[in-house]
């Protein structure tokens, strides 16, 4: 085991206290077991605590041959003090969808990372990747070869390309999954490998798929293309279970509120009155739902999972354009396809995606997210580019300003007018 040098890190050490898992303790242990990078990282972090500033240099373009993404270059700006992390590049590994692992998988990747990297990771990155934190430039190709040959797994995305798609656990464990999120995301990731590894877009593009409107992967806030499960038939009702909830035999919301006394469960107060569309009512002992008025918000189902379930004619709602604030301000995704079946190989959906990408690659400015293009060129332009029909579901409410565009074709007589003719009717 190599000689390791521990720095004085009083401020970091304070973070070993307290019940929440201490990353400092974890990293220090690993360091003392022989990983100088870990101790140097804590040392540099201590310096950042002192200066209240980061000590990483700006950027640095590094990567593996043939790929335009998957690696984030990082260099310390105080390398003399912390030589082992002078290079500290990140490798983004495409996670298995749903983030399930076998112990064998985990052990093998740990071995690779102990040997070729810092031994530190993020499980997981905000986009969903397994993030291997900190390695040197000369190790990048070997790491890539180890991953592809010895684990048969690949890198995730970075830069102006498709980013690693992500999903909720979906059908693997959740009773509410209206679409097979894992299968969908797996298929899209495989289908779009080229877009994922080779920058061809104006900026980054993200897919996220949630199995129902609870949106456990935050698709509506964090994906340029949000795929969210829904249904178009009726909520399934088990009236005996409804009665059981009313009788207090089953805990509301699966027990999610159990540690506080909220009083006896009151279906009127807690479900019917909170339904955003007020489309539920009791008829004697039976719960009724006017499904045509239901907006599938999931509340009643969330509260009474043993009594209510989504319908069986399921598919996805597609929303586009979510992003963080840089530059034009944050966006949530906007509804563009109210319902689309997500089966087989998702060809209809993929056609839609390519029409979107064609438009964006043609018109998008450098570092303009798709959502920003949509705002700049309008939903009307999106309709033209995708062949979608305008429907009221795309907007919260109709426009309040009267500034409508018309084309010459739409207007009787067109736009060619003759001044002389006009002045014949109207003296100047």
């Amino acid at each position: 085991m190599a000689e390791v040098k521990k720095h004085a890190t009083p401020m970091c050490d304070d973070l070993k206290k307290g019940p929440w898992p201490s990353f400092v303790d974890d990293i220090e242990q690993q360091g003392l077991s022989g990983k100088q990078e870990c101790l140097d990282l804590l040392g540099q972090l201590e310096l950042s605590f002192k200066h209240k500033e980061t000590h990483w240099k700006h950027g640095g373009i590094v990567g593996v041959f043939g790929y335009g993404g998957g690696v984030i270059g990082r260099y310390s700006d105080v390398p003399e003090q912390f030589p082992s992390i002078a290079h500290f590049h990140t490798v983004r590994v495409n996670q298995p969808n749903g983030k399930f692992y076998s112990s064998a998988f985990l052990r093998k990747i740990c071995e690779i990372w102990d040997y070729r990297g810092s031994g530190m990771t993020n499980m997981h990155g905000s986009t969903g990747d397994m993030v291997l934190l900190g390695t040197k430039t000369d190790q990048l190709e070997p790491i890539f070869f180890d991953l592809t040959h010895q684990m048969q797994i690949d890198l995730g995305g970075s830069g102006s390309n498709l980013r690693t798609p992500e999903c909720c656990m979906g059908k693997s464990r959740c009773e509410w999954a209206c679409i097979d999120t894992q299968a969908i995301i797996y298929d899209l990731t495989q289908t779009f490998q080229d877009e994922l590894h080779r920058p061809a877009f104006p900026y980054k593009f993200k897919f996220k798929a949630s199995g129902c409107p609870n949106d456990c992967v935050a698709a509506i806030a964090r994906a340029d293309c949000s795929i969210i499960g829904t249904w178009r038939d009726e909520i399934r009702i088990d009236q005996t279970a409804v009665a059981a909830y009313m009788a207090g035999e089953i805990k509301p919301n699966a027990g999610a509120h159990a540690d506080r006394d909220w009083g006896k469960f009151d279906i009127q107060k807690e479900v019917i009155d909170l339904c955003p569309t007020k489309c539920m009512w009791m008829e004697g002992k039976t719960l009724k739902i006017d499904n045509r008025e239901c907006t599938r918000c999931m509340h009643c189902i969330n509260v009474m999972p043993q009594a209510l379930r989504p319908g069986v004619d399921t598919g996805a709602t597609i929303l586009m354009g979510a992003k963080a604030p840089i530059l034009e301000g944050a966006q949530m995704s906007t509804l563009v396809i109210p319902f689309i079946k997500m089966e087989g190989t998702y060809d209809e959906f993929k056609d839609f995606v390519s029409s979107i990408w064609d438009w964006w690659m043609e018109e998008g400015k450098n570092r303009e997210r798709f959502g920003e293009l949509m705002q700049r060129q309008s939903i009307q332009e999106l309709l033209r580019r995708t062949g979608l029909k305008a429907i009221p579901q795309m907007v919260k409410e109709p426009r309040s300003n009267p500034y409508v565009f018309w084309s010459a074709e739409e207007v009787e007589g067109g736009w060619k007018r003759d001044v002389a003719e006009f002045r014949k009717r109207h003296a100047a």
């Binding site: 605590f49 500033e53 993020n122 464990r173």
Partner: protein, 416 residues
């Protein structure tokens, strides 16, 4: 065996990653890569574009068997969700926290636990918690005891159990000073400090509804804090420096100029010991500290220990439950950076959490509560001074203007 599996195999069976058990069974060969990779023939032996390993192979047996056939769930205790399938099968999902920033040693410990109680399988959640699956009561009890027993030398839990239901679950966060080049604040130390303080709420179901906290260390918002019940955001407050000597060497001036959403950056020429040099100048009055210039140009750093700090936003949400998704709203424009424990930030968040918890209705998210009582009342109850910084003055500002006579009297009007 399994119908679903057969279908997937039909579609994806040829992908190298569809079944990686064989390669995984082989020991790691440290020398292989160097043997295969030849810098002069980079394409030789290169495998690329294979994508992720197929998910199905990593599901615990009971999940494989009941894939898509789950019927309902019960949270039997904080952190433990019991799932029942149409088949009658049941499984317990046990959720425990992680710091997200974790070492291979700790991951190996996770693997070891998975082998002991979960047939060797485990998963991570979308919020960086870890989930183990026990297919019997007995295994569940043993698993829970084991998890509770594991601590770091300093005494913190390795795998605290909780994060379900109306709790305060793990904080979605970002790199901070541990790895990024643009942060205004650190990430991991803030998360540790806040969760140490709120720990009691991670392992209990005492909140009116789920409370989702997120942190992003700069305006890029990799933590996607823009839709969180409570958001911790790192901000800069000093305009970028301009390094005239090196700027032309390290970035394209037109790109730097174009980077500014407010057009605050203009090309300029300076004299440096006698010779004219092209550079840029920043109209500091117009700078809103977004940091986009630094992202595009290394010679325009914003970071400054004195100027940087924390902004707090609240009231965002993502789910479509009852109310529609909402953006977080800026309620505190600045709190100084206080590493390592960020005590002012911790105190502020505690106050918001307690006030919300004491006043909101069951099932009511923080933002829905604030909207219901009115923001004037929110600031009053939470004892947060309202400043002009909370008034929008960006692109869509008008839509936040208050165009009605409907408002409540509050400390703000009492003191006029």
């Amino acid at each position: 065996m399994n119908e679903y599996f057969e279908k997937q195999k039909e579609l994806y069976g040829d992908n190298p990653g569809f079944d990686i058990s064989e390669v995984l069974s082989k020991p790691y060969d440290k020398t292989l890569a160097e043997k295969l990779y030849d810098p002069n023939k980079p394409m030789q032996n290169r495998i690329s574009d294979i994508g992720p390993a197929h998910f199905f192979q990593f599901l615990p047996p009971v999940l494989k068997k009941n894939y898509g056939q789950w019927k309902y769930h019960e949270i039997v205790q904080p952190g433990v969700i019991k799932y029942t399938a149409e088949s009658g099968d049941t499984v317990f999902a046990v959720r425990c926290a992680s710091a997200r920033l974790m070492t291979t040693n700790l991951i190996r410990e996770v693997a070891e636990i998975a082998d002991k109680y979960c047939d060797g399988y485990v998963r991570w959640t979308t919020r960086n918690n870890i989930e183990f699956h026990a297919d019997s009561e007995a295994k569940l009890r043993a698993l829970l005891d084991d998890l509770k027993s594991r601590k770091f030398p300093g005494g913190s839990y390795k795998f605290p159990i909780g994060g379900t239901g109306a709790s305060i679950t793990n904080i979605v966060h970002t790199q901070g000073w541990v790895h990024c080049h643009t942060p205004a604040i650190d990430a991991s130390s803030v998360v540790k400090s806040v969760m140490d303080d709120l720990f009691e709420y991670f392992g209990s179901h005492k909140m009116p509804a789920q409370v989702r906290i997120a942190l992003a260390c700069c305006l890029n918002m990799c933590g996607a804090v823009h839709c969180s019940d409570i958001a911790i955001l790192g901000i800069h407050r000093k305009p970028p420096l301009v390094e005239d000597e090196r700027i032309t060497g390290v970035c394209e001036l037109p790109l730097a100029v174009a980077a500014c959403p407010l057009g605050a950056i203009k090309p300029a020429t300076v004299e440096i010991n006698g010779e004219k040099k092209k550079t840029v100048r920043v109209n500091e009055e117009r700078c809103m500290f977004c940091g986009n210039c630094y992202t595009m140009c290394p010679a325009m750093p914003l970071a400054d220990g004195e100027g940087d700090g924390v902004a707090i936003l609240v009231g965002g949400k993502i789910s479509n439950r009852i109310s529609t998704p909402k953006f977080s709203k800026l309620i505190i424009p600045y709190i100084p950076s206080e590493p390592p424990r960020w005590q002012s930030t911790v105190k502020t968040i505690r106050k918001i959490v307690e006030t919300y918890s004491a006043n909101a209705n069951k099932y009511e998210r923080l933002g829905d509560w604030a909207a219901r009582i009115g923001w004037e009342r929110f600031f009053e109850k939470c004892d947060i001074p309202f400043t002009e910084k909370s008034i929008d003055d960006y692109r869509l500002a008008y839509d936040t203007y208050h165009t009605t006579t409907q408002f409540k009297w509050s400390v703000h009007t009492d003191n006029l």
